[in-house]
Structures are given as C-alpha cells and as structure tokens.
C-alpha cells in the first residue's frame, strides 16, 4: 500500500505540474500600461494595434524628440485587440492610452463615444478638411459632436492577380490589358470561366471575397441612414455576383485569413484576390517566394474601400494630452508617408495622394506596380457608404449563408431568402 500511496503522490504531482504548465501557457495576459512613472518625470504611452503598422521607426524618432515620453508598442491579433479594448471599456480600467480601431469595429465603438476622449476638444477639428470626408464621418458619433478617432489609413480596392498563372492560362499579363479584360463583374466571371476551363484550377479564393468588395462599391450597404435594413439594394447585387461565381465553379471555397487560405496562396489555389492596400503586406508575408508573380489591376465595377483604421484615445487613460500629441504627430504627412513606404498602408488624407513620394512609389514585390497611384485613385473616387450599427454581425450572418452554399448544404437558387432571414435576425439580435 505504501508503495502505491507514493505512486499516487507522484501521479498527483505530475498532474499538478501539468496544470501549472497549462496555466503558464494560457495565462499570457498583457496587463498594465498607461502608468506614468512620476519618479523620473517620464510618461509612458501604451499603443495597441495589430499586425505591423510601421510604427517601429516612428517610435524611436518620437522618443528622441520627446525625451520625457516612452512609447510602448503592443501589437496583437486583429480580433483579440478589438475585443480586449471593448472589455476594458466595460471594466472602466486597463485600456491602453492609444488604441487603433479598424473599420470593421469603428461603428461599434463610435456608439460608445462617451468612453473615448473627444478629439474635437483637443483641437482635432482643424484636420477635418484634410481627411477624405467619409473617413472623417465614419468615426464621428451619431450626434456628430464627438470625434473618437483620427484616421490613419484607408484600404482602397484593387484586384491583385498572379501574372504567372494568367500567362499559363493564355490570358494577358500586364496590368493595363488585364484591367481592360474586366470592366464589369460579369466580364470578370467570364474571364474566370476561361481560366478554369484552361487550367482546371479555381479562380477566386471564396464567394465571400466577391460579396464584400461588390457590396463596398454600392451606394448603400446593409443599412440606410435611419438604421433600416435594406437587403434589396446593395446586398442583393453583391450576393448575386457571389452566387454566380460559385455556380460557375470559380471559387476555391477558402475562408480568408485562415490556415487553409494561407496554404491556398502557396498551392496556387486561386489566381486573383480583391486587395486593399494593406493586403499587399499580407500577401508578402504569406507567400514570400511569390515575389514578382503578383501584379495589380483595377477592380471591376469602379472604386471601393475595404478596411482602414483610426487612432483612438480611451477616456480612462491618465495621459490624454500626451496621447493626443503623439496621435497628432503620427497623422502628419511626413509620418503617414513613412508608414506607407514601410508597410504599404495608404494614407487617408487626399493631399498626400498628390505627393510624389506616394505617386512615384513602386512596390517591388508586386512586379513594381505603382501602388500609391492605383489605390489612391480608388479611395478618392469613392462615394461614402453608411455603415449601420449592426453592420458587423449582419455581414457575418450573410457571409455564413454564402459559406453554406459553398459547402453544398444550401442550393444557390434558394440562398437569397436564407440570406435575408439571417440578416434580419442579425439586425434584431
């Protein structure tokens, strides 16, 4: 018995060790920040964002110019960062001094404008004229009295394509000819059919990545300005394009930003990708050996926008003034151009689109495409689209219906009523 008891202890000890390891691995919460270190007269600004926003160089420079300020950059995962911000806002404590917010979440946060520093109070109104009008509007509270963020980048919208795969399929490869191939989405689908017939491979990554850019081009999104769901206007057009694409067998049915999708890049599972400016960085990191194989053409159906972010200052921070100073500095032309050159994020101030540094910039990875020129033209010509309060959940609901069609559990001709039903449910949830 004694021997067994000892074994038992050993087993329990092993179990405990196991759970400790587990706790150690899962308990990586990034707490703290926003505390000013008074003893050294130092101020620490914690900045939350995701991916790479090209801030490393800027941080060094700002700290050099302002010796009393220390910047802590905290890059996380896209969804996690937004969710973290939301939780800290509810908790009333723990939010960073400065937080980046993306277009996908800006509606959610502008509805809680009382939790953010009103940048108009800090003198941000002088920047209104410098921004794309719709960019300025999107982060403004419903009563137009509170501006929660200063825009940093916009997505713009173009069509990235694999020139090597196009060549193999007997299609033209230079950007002008490719752009001429598709003025409308129907043209685009026809080109896709040719490609699929010739190569036997799929043309686009997924139906949802057809739906979203087409929806972005419509004058109206899911909701009108009185917050009523309007499925029959913009969403119907976009949904039909997605269905046509799936029916024609063009879609590889891969969910964006997921492991399968990343593999799809490497395995040539699709030849085109609707791409905003920030997507270029993603392509480059996912498939670094495809340098020179990608190029950029115009997108069918005119300009559009996908994504782009703002810098916001949660009210609970103690250093709002210093935080605003840093944000203001970051949105100055010199810094915006620096970011554009480092990671490719397109500035949201149209004056910069005329700047030679942007106009003449060529992206080496994308076969030396003049990305500044291409994306600027799509963002500038855009008509503003109102994003309703429930825009995010509604988009997810409709995307799910498209996924069901791709999975084969729903017929494409029966899908639209399902989409309307799902959207209505999301609208009232």
């Amino acid at each position: 018995m004694e021997r067994f008891a000892k074994r038992g202890v050993a087993l329990v000890a092993a179990g405990l060790a196991g759970s400790l390891v587990l706790a150690g691995c899962s308990g990586q919460d990034l707490e703290g920040g926003g505390s000013d270190n008074a003893s050294q007269g130092q101020i620490t600004l914690k900045v939350n964002f995701w991916g790479d926003m090209g801030l490393d160089k800027l941080k060094t420079q700002y700290e050099k110019d302002n010796p009393n300020v220390k910047i802590v950059l905290n890059s996380g995962e896209y969804n996690a960062q937004h969710e973290d911000l939301q939780k800290k806002l509810v908790a009333g404590t723990g939010a960073p001094d400065i937080s980046a917010v993306d277009e996908g979440f800006i509606v959610q946060f502008r509805g809680q404008s009382d939790k953010f520093v009103n940048l108009l109070d800090k003198g941000a109104s002088s920047y209104e004229a410098k921004y794309l009008p719709w960019k300025w509007q999107q982060s403004l509270s419903t009563d137009k009295k509170t501006q929660i963020g200063l825009g940093t980048d916009v997505g713009g919208l173009a069509m990235c394509y694999r020139s090597d795969l196009f060549k193999a399929a007997g299609l033209p490869t230079d950007r002008e000819s490719v752009s001429k191939l598709w003025t409308t989405w129907d043209d685009f689908i026809n080109v896709g059919k040719q490609y699929v017939d010739k190569t036997g491979k799929k043309f686009v990554d997924s139906g949802t990545n057809m739906f979203n850019p087409v929806l972005a081009q419509q004058p109206q999104g899911f909701y009108d300005e009185s917050e009523q769901l309007q499925m029959d206007a913009g969403p119907k057009v976009a949904f039909d394009v997605a269905m046509k694409t799936i029916d024609a067998g063009l879609s590889a049915n891969l969910a964006s930003f997921q492991p399968n999708w990343d593999q799809g890049f490497k395995k040539d599972q699709f030849a085109v990708l609707a791409c905003p400016a920030w997507m270029l960085g993603h392509i480059q990191t996912t498939a670094p050996n495809q340098k020179g194989k990608w190029d950029i053409a115009t997108i069918p159906g005119g300009g559009g926008n996908w994504g782009g972010s703002w810098w916001t200052i949660p009210k609970q921070g103690k250093n709002a003034d210093e935080a605003y100073k840093f944000v203001e500095w970051m949105v100055q032309p010199a810094q915006q151009i620096e970011v554009f050159k480092t990671v490719g994020n397109l500035p949201s101030q149209p004056a910069l689109y005329k700047d030679p540094a942007v106009l003449e910039y060529k992206k080496e990875f994308m076969s030396n495409a003049p990305t500044g020129q291409i994306f600027a033209s799509t963002a500038e010509g855009l008509k503003p689209q109102y994003l309703g309060k429930k825009n995010g959940p509604t988009r997810v609901a409709v995307e799910n219906v498209i996924t069901r069609v791709q999975q084969g559990s729903l017929k494409s001709n029966a899908a639209w009523p399902e989409a309307v039903k799902a959207a209505q449910k999301a609208a009232t949830s």
């Binding site: 074994r7 969910a255 593999q263 997810v396 219906v401 559990s409």
Partner: protein, 332 residues
Amino acid sequence: MSLTRSAPPAASPEPAQRRAAKSAPKQRNWLHRFDNKRVPYLLISPFFLLFAIFGLFPIVFNGIVALRNWRLDDPTLTGWAGLANFEKLIHDEAFWNALGNTFGIFILATVPQLLIALMVANLLNRKLRGNTWWRVGVLLPYVTPVAASTLVFAVFFARDNGMANWLLSLVGFGQDTPLDWRAYKWSSWIAIATMVNWKWIGYNALLYLSAMQSIPKDVYEAAAVDGAGPWRQLWRITVPMIQPVLIFTVVLSTIGGLQLFNEPMLFEENPAAASGGSNGQWQTIAQLIYKVGWKDLNLGYAAAMSWALFVIILIVAALNALATNRLGGGRR
C-alpha cells in the same frame, strides 16, 4: 541576527508571565475557546473569501445583469428588463440549437471518454514494463495547451490536405470529393468530440488508476479463484470499488462538457464570427453566450443565457451523479 539572539531571553517572559498569571483563568479560557471555536474557521476562510469574490459575486452580479437591459451598442437603453431576457431565450431558435449541439457533443465526448479512460486505467493497473513512462504518456495530451492542440486538430480535420480525410481515403471514402468536416452537424460534432476525448482520456485514466490501486489485491485473487475473468472482474469489482472517483469524473466532465468553448471556438474557420459553423452546426451554449455578449453586444441577454446554462449544468450534473451512484450498486 546575532544582536537579536543576544537579547536577554529571561527578562521579557517574566513580566508577561506575571501579567498572564493575574488574569490567567479568564484569558486562557478565552484563548482556548477562540482556538477551539474560531481558528478552524479562520484557517479555512481564505477559500471562502476567494470564492465569495471570484465565485459568488460574479454569479449574483450575473443574475442582476440578466434582469437588466445592457447593450453596449446602445447606451441609452438601460434599466430593469424584468424577465424579458429569459422570455426571449425561450423563443430563441439559436439557443435551442446551441443546447442541442452542446448535449450532442457532450454525449459524443463524455461517454467514450470515460469508458476508454476506464480501459486505459485497467491496462495501466497491470504489471507493465516502463510503467511510469506509460502513465506520464497518457497525461501528455492533458498537459498540452488546449489552444495548441486544437489548432493542430483544425489542420487535422481540414477539408483540403487534412489528415483525417487522408485516413478516410485510405479506406476508400471521399477520394473524389473530400469530406468537409465543418459543413455538417455530425462530422463537426465528431471532430470536436475527438479533440475533447483526446485531451481528457489520460487525465481521467490516471484518476481511475489511483483509485484502482487502493483496491486490495486479495479481492481479485478471490474472484479469480471463483472463476471470474478479467472483464467480469472489471465490472463487478473494480467499477463498484472506485465508484466515488467515478462519480467525481462524471460530474467534472459534465460541467466541462456543458461549458465547452475553446474547442468549438478554435474549430471555427472565422473565429471572429463565433457562430459555430456557417449554420450554427456546432455552436455550443458557451459560444453562443460569447457571441451574444461580445459580438451582438447584448450583455443583459448573454447574462440570462449564462444563468440558464448554470441551472442546466446543476440539473444534469445532479442527474448524472445519481445515475452513476445507481450504476455502482448505489448504497448512498
């Protein structure tokens, strides 16, 4: 150190003793009573204090929130909602769907998990070469962080180039059209239940094993003499004799199974959606609560769901404990 040690030891106790002697009967009595009656409570109080802060308070607060309107996207909508959130719950298709999924996955995960754990424990209880190695080995899946193992499983159950589909193709299924594990209820349930089973079988097996080792060997010897085979010994001797541990694991895995969150969440192609598949095929209640709270931003409704889940777990855990008690011969 040397300074304190060299302090005169005799000087200080003396006055204290004298003082104590004066009021000795009363004070000693008091001290004694305090030591006897209060100290045990003091010593166990840290647990209850912590529980009050991290257990009781959230439950009560959650209950209050459940009766209120609290929407993050609409700060103007506040105040008491009465039972409106619970009423909404009863008519919410998504909730019933999630409840069905949760129980489906729960059964697929718990029953094989405990049965296999029992078998594994029974095997480990024999004289094996490399005993410790095997025992630590079965615990390894438990030690692996759930996020890491689930991500591996997400790749394992991938539609294109997934190992699960490769194995299926070896036996002749789905060579032309690979199975999309996420598309259907049954396949996604199996995938998630597999992840849960993989993680917890070893843990439960070790619990059973430690209980089995306290069973005296002579019972088995007597049974063997009477002609009971290994199978019969397992069900007639081992299972009844490890019954307390059995109940413990059943209750624990009931709670864990009904609160299932990480696995379905990470199985999602787009975790931001938290919709448990394109049509809620595998959306569990915990996942739905998360979606309602942090995606639909309806904290009041999410709190009502949490409370409903809490009650459901209490009921099911009690039923399971009862049933297990019966199974093992049911003396208590």
